[in-house]
């Protein structure tokens, strides 16, 4: 089964990558870029299990490895089988 985890910096946390992107876009001549924020997506392929088990397990993965919950938030979406 496919599970998609989206990890992003909390609002208010400085995002140097995003700032670099916005700066580079302006340097390249793209006017009108007010701000950019970068975040990451982790697509997991798990062995089949029921959805509530998967959700609990992925939540634990996020807290233990995938996200730094001090500065990041995460959201989990489980893609329906088939």
């Amino acid at each position: 089964m496919k599970v998609v985890v989206h990890v992003q910096l909390r609002e208010g946390v400085l995002d140097p990558q995003g700032k670099a992107i916005a700066g580079a876009l302006n340097t390249l001549g793209f006017a009108g870029v007010v701000d950019a924020r970068q975040s990451k997506v982790i697509a997991l392929d798990l062995e089949d299990m029921d959805e509530s088990t998967a959700r609990a397990r992925v939540d634990e993965m996020c807290r233990k490895l995938l996200a730094n919950t001090v500065i990041e938030t995460y959201s989990v979406s489980i893609e329906p089988a088939g």
Copy 2:
């Protein structure tokens, strides 16, 4: 206006970050992780413009800076105003 760009490695391109994540999850005792792929999301805040202009401009940003189209694909979604 908010525009979200999702940049991911093409299928078949080796993803060392994803492999490291899958390995680390297994090491931490999470059984059943078959594979993991990491990708990135860039959320842009642009000055308001009409949607087709925004789409063309962001497409050009992707080709020039945000994605390496040799090994990556990208998708653009424009969030409705308001």
